[in-house]
């Protein structure tokens, strides 16, 4: 079974499960929207809000709903010990990681498809002025966050560690990603958008993704052994 075929198989399986129950999509989406709403009440003054607030809220909503989604996705594998069944199968272990990562990433991007317009609307933030850069920032940031999150969540599922530990482990390590995402978005939301700064942050995110995905692929196999 080739690497990509195994990845495709895992992704398809998760997709079928998710479209049947839609549980994770709905809860993550609802959570993100509620998050944004609460912050909107706090930060929006007379219909306008500081661009920094809009950017920060966007990325916080992504981070929080990402953690929720990761928890739910791996709880499923924990329930019937299907994680073990996957590890028992004659596929390259990193393929399981990539498959899961693809699932988590698509979920994050789906949530963002709703949350980004909402933030633009409620915070009067000009997120679509430089749409391609915003999309690039969101995509690379989500990839970095999901890469680390998938590894940690998978390991917690394997050792039957408490799911509550996931945020404790994930947030410190992904702080550079969040900083980069927020600062890049702020640069684009200002009255005079600073494209050079936004691009600089994008570079950092791309480098982060490259390094951490490579590390995760290396680490996944020995880390999943017992």
């Amino acid at each position: 079974m080739s690497f990509m075929a195994a990845v495709a198989l895992v992704v398809r399986k998760d997709l079928v499960i998710e479209t049947r129950s839609r549980e994770v999509v709905y809860t993550a989406l609802l959570f993100a929207v509620s998050c944004v709403l609460v912050f909107a009440f706090g930060f929006v003054n007379e219909g306008r809000a500081d661009p920094a607030a809009a950017a920060a809220i966007l990325w916080i909503a992504i981070a929080f709903s990402g953690t929720l989604a990761l928890g739910r996705i791996f709880d499923r594998e924990r329930q019937n010990e299907t994680m073990r069944a996957l590890l028992l199968a004659p596929v390259a272990r990193p393929a399981i990681y990539v498959g899961k990562l693809a699932g988590v990433l698509s979920l994050l991007l789906m949530v963002q498809a709703i949350v980004v317009p909402l933030v633009a609307l409620w915070f009067q933030a000009e997120l679509f002025r430089h749409a391609s850069l915003v999309i690039a920032l969101l995509a690379t940031g989500s990839l970095g966050y999901a890469a680390v999150g998938t590894l940690f969540a998978a390991m917690l599922a394997r050792t039957r560690g408490r799911g509550a530990l996931l945020p404790v482990l994930l947030y410190p390590v992904t702080i550079p990603v969040i900083i980069a995402g927020v600062k890049g978005t702020v640069a684009l939301l200002q009255a005079e958008p600073n494209l050079a700064i936004a691009r600089a942050w994008l570079m950092m995110l791309i480098a982060f993704d490259a390094v951490f995905i490579t590390l995760a692929l290396w680490i996944f196999e020995p880390a999943m052994a017992e």
């Binding site: 198989l9 019937n80 010990e81 073990r84 590890l87 199968a89 596929v91």
Partner: protein, 233 residues
Amino acid sequence: MEPLDFTSLTFTDVTRNFGRRRALNRVSFSCEAGQIVALLGANGAGKSTLLSIAATMLEPSSGAVLYGDHSARSAGAALRARIGVLGHDLYIYPELTAFENLAFFGRLYGMTDVDRAVAEALLRAGLEDRASEAVSSFSRGMRQRLALERALLHSPRLLLLDEPFTGLDDASSSALRDRLQAARDRGALVIVTTHDLEAIEALVDTAFVLNCGRLQPLAAGAESLRVRYRRYS
């Protein structure tokens, strides 16, 4: 991935520790393909640990496990393709249908002509009319039958079953015995842990007893398994 095969399983001085607890203590045994081996012992004796190590899910703290001439570490994925496991937790996805579960694992194990194999497996399990229903609606016995088919789908050389008779009614129990016999006749090496000694009485070729992590062969004899087993407790 070249196909790999083996005809024997050998444990040599295998020890497994969990922190301060020794689950397996210098376990040594050997079995050949075409045998049904019973692994007996009280709860907590280490039977599941031994099966997990045989399945390559756990690594021994010391000692060696050989599949023919191969070790788990060197053979990797090719070895896993020849092992089938029916664990305590069944390893099936409740949200998927019976057909989808088997098809997923069949493809994962690189089988060709998966759909036909799955249809046959469902027929053997007596689940062909529930094939398109989500497993979450199945009873425990039905899930067990499905999980067994999942373990057997790719015709494994080594079949490991952890308490497979739990919760089965007489009909299913007898069907399971038939499947195990067929597997043995096909040349598989079957290792079963169970408390239901009467169920496997007629099938067993060799039996071992695990007592506080130590393994001993069960003495051969004309008496029933239960009588012989009682001598060890």
